[in-house]
């Protein structure tokens, strides 16, 4: 067998699912179930984002029976999840409700798998919501009833043999389109921030309910603009409920995001101020302005300086990294310094003064770095 790969009709559907849909599905594992063509892949495990975690579903095609739609095996703990359940009509064997992504399956249509997974995920959301609603805990019942109307909220019940039962909520926060606020935004997916709230399922007759575990989670790309790890969550007062807690949090988050967007311009200003002193930057991040690289020559010693500008700039100073353009290590890679952040800095300086002080620091540091490069190169 030449190489392991998917037959075209599966490849088209899988590519569409992974690259075109907004679900953010990942493929974990691929293998073949065919007897005659053991190198032709036709089954795979999908990691589907749900409630700030992933659910794992096995999708089984049959490469040799292209007209058959795929079958899905859900996670072992979801043994009661039965989507596309047919209901039999009274007194007959005719089945009703049979209209879903599996009816009139067309293997040539690349969007079909995506539609199937999307529909199954919606069913799964409803299933978990129903299960959470059935939990025998007064506080949870109340929380669910007050928060259910929030759009996009997801719930998940987790229980293990040695773990106490918990209900996890993923609450979408801040109803604003961050993508639109960033000029020239490169993100393909809409950036979102979620609050994860984990409630332990209370034992009956326990009066003092403990506070839920709270955690802010954002889409990974948002880090270029705004790090949710820097957000200090308001404290959860005893007897509080989510409906009370969320408005304050959202308000403060909104403010912080606006500020983060405003900081882009300050960083841009700083990068622009580099030009008169260091010459035009060799490279700069034009969207978030988080990175700039300048070329410096000290005598015959030429080196690049990478400036990594934090989201908290100007409160935090940029981290500098020096990279020689003349010294290489044994693997042929240019020799670089470690990140330098220990140099004089004040957020109150204006941009040109910041650049001047960095230049002063670099004049001294270049000598150290040259010595360091020479030593590193001499080592075998």
């Amino acid at each position: 067998m030449a190489s392991d790969c998917f037959p075209p009709f599966i490849a088209a559907q899988l590519n569409y699912l992974v690259h075109q849909s907004t679900l953010g599905v990942k493929v974990e594992n691929v293998w073949s179930g065919s007897k005659s063509y053991p190198g032709v892949l036709d089954r795979f495990t999908l990691l589907i984002p749900y409630c700030l975690d992933y659910i794992k579903w096995d999708v089984l095609y049959n490469a040799e029976f292209p007209l058959c739609p795929p079958d899905v095996i859900f996670a072992p703990e979801d043994e009661h999840f039965h989507p596309f359940r047919l209901r039999s009509r009274e007194g007959g064997n005719e089945m009703e409700g049979a209209k879903n992504s599996l009816s009139d399956w067309n293997h040539k249509d690349p969007t079909r798998l995506c539609a199937l997974i999307q529909e199954l995920r919606d069913e799964y959301t409803n299933y978990q919501r129903r299960r959470a609603g059935e939990v025998d805990d007064d506080r949870l019942t109340f929380e669910i009833s007050t928060i259910l109307s929030r759009e996009g909220i997801e719930m998940h019940i987790s229980s293990g043999l040695d773990k106490p039962q918990e209900v996890k909520f993923a609450v979408p926060l801040v109803d604003m389109n961050i993508n639109k606020m960033v000029h020239g935004c490169p993100w393909r997916h809409l950036q979102k921030i979620h609050l994860q709230v984990v409630y332990p399922v209370g034992k009956k007759y326990v009066s003092a309910a403990s506070a839920p575990r709270l955690k802010l989670v954002s889409t990974p790309e948002l880090k270029a603009l705004f790090s949710v790890d820097d957000v200090k969550l308001p404290s959860w007062v005893d007897g509080m409920c989510m409906a009370e807690y969320l408005p304050h949090l959202e308000e403060s988050l909104q403010g912080q995001i606006m500020e983060a967007v405003a900081l882009i311009d300050i960083r841009r200003h700083f990068i622009e101020a580099l030009a008169p002193v260091f010459g035009r930057p060799v490279e700069a991040d034009p969207v978030f302005c988080r990175k700039a690289t300048v070329l410096i020559a000290s005598g015959v010693f030429t080196f690049l300086v990478h400036l990594f500008i934090p989201t908290q700039f100007p409160r935090q100073q940029p981290a500098l990294m020096l990279q020689s353009s003349q010294h290489f290590n044994s693997q042929g890679a240019p020799i670089k310094s470690s990140l330098l952040t220990d140099y004089p800095w004040s957020p109150r300086w204006d941009a040109s003064q910041m650049v001047e002080r960095i230049l002063e620091f670099l004049v001294d540091e270049s000598l150290n770095f040259k010595r360091y490069c020479n030593e590193a190169q001499l080592q075998p």
Binding site: F6, P8, S32, G33, R43, L86, S88, M95, L102, S103
Partner: protein, 323 residues
């Protein structure tokens, strides 16, 4: 009220092995039907607890016995067309002709290299089978006693798989379930593989097939595609077989049973030659028949391979393998 729990599912060693052979030789995933019967568990004379054994034996109507959870489903035969979705559509709707499910007790599904856990489709098919009232049949012993009291609809489900990871050892895995309509779950059941031998003499009658010869037209529908209709050929084959039978009868007529009496006594030696002649002719016939069967099997195989090639073309596998 036909959701009685099974205690176990019995299958004879040869049936299980031929089932395994069938599913493992199919090109892809396969499913099919299981035939057999459901009986209240015979009171075991080996029981340590005499009261329970006698209670089960005394109960005239088996309803009480089966209510105590002592039903055994016995698989006697199966039908496997060797392809996925052989009797249902992707949504789990059944495509069975109603005259063709005598003693249908359940179904099986085989998926190569997958987790041994019922899938979405398994659930929907099982639910359809269990909820179809026309498939329900009376439990064998209670048929006379309590007419229509206890029925059993096809709820047995056997799941076959091979391990998801490649391994040097060829392994078949299987699990048996009973589908419960009340809870809508698959409940695992133990499989009792009954082997032939003195210890199992008591089971001797259990494994005689009691379903009529399964229908063969199951694969003529469109979704399994590109099956060429071999009806014309089959008819001529049947005509030929009938002709052969006539010929055999003709030969046998030359030697009616009355003549057998002459085999005993002094004139016997004269007849051995005639008898040998008859045997020779019959052997020739049998030989010809065997040859015909072989030739037709080869044709079926050729057709299968042709179909598989066409399917691979539709799937674009050829391009993948060659390229």
């Amino acid at each position: 009220m036909d959701d009685l729990p099974l205690q176990k599912i019995a299958i004879s060693g040869p049936t299980l092995s031929s089932l395994l052979q069938r599913v493992s030789s199919s090109p892809a995933d396969a499913d099919g039907l299981l035939f057999g019967h459901v009986l209240p568990l015979a009171p075991s004379s080996l029981s340590d607890d005499p009261s329970s054994a006698s209670a089960a034996a005394d109960s005239g109507s088996s309803a009480s016995a089966s209510a105590a959870g002592a039903l055994v489903a016995t698989v006697t035969s199966f039908l496997c067309p060797g392809c996925p979705l052989s009797f249902s559509d992707p949504l789990g709707r059944l495509l069975l002709c109603h005259s063709q499910h005598d003693r249908l007790i359940g179904w099986f599904s085989s998926r190569r290299r997958s987790r041994l856990q019922p899938s979405m489709r398994d659930f929907n098919v099982a639910a359809s089978l269990a909820s179809d009232p026309s498939l329900s049949f009376p439990i064998a012993a209670s048929a006379s006693a309590s007419a229509g009291g206890d029925g059993f609809s096809p709820r047995v489900f056997l799941l076959f798989s091979t391990p998801p990871l490649d391994s040097a050892i060829h392994t078949h895995e299987y699990r048996a379930f009973q589908f419960r309509t009340a809870t809508e779950t698959f409940e695992p059941r133990s499989v009792d593989v009954v082997n032939i031998g003195p210890r199992f003499r008591g089971h001797y009658g259990n494994f005689s097939p009691n379903s009529s010869f399964p229908w063969l037209a199951c694969d003529l529908r469109g979704s399994s595609m590109m099956q060429e209709d071999g009806k014309g050929e089959r008819l001529s084959e049947m005509r030929r077989a009938a002709k052969c039978q006539d010929e055999i009868d003709l030969i046998a007529e030359d030697f009616p049973a009355a003549k057998l009496s002459r085999l005993v006594g002094p004139e016997a030696s004269n007849y051995t030659a005639g008898l040998e002649e008859m045997y020779k002719k019959m052997l020739t016939r049998v030989d010809t028949l065997a040859g015909l069967v072989e030739a037709s099997s080869a044709q079926v195989l050729e057709m299968e391979q042709h179909n598989s090639k066409l399917r691979a073309e539709v799937a674009g596998i050829k391009r993948v393998v060659d390229g």
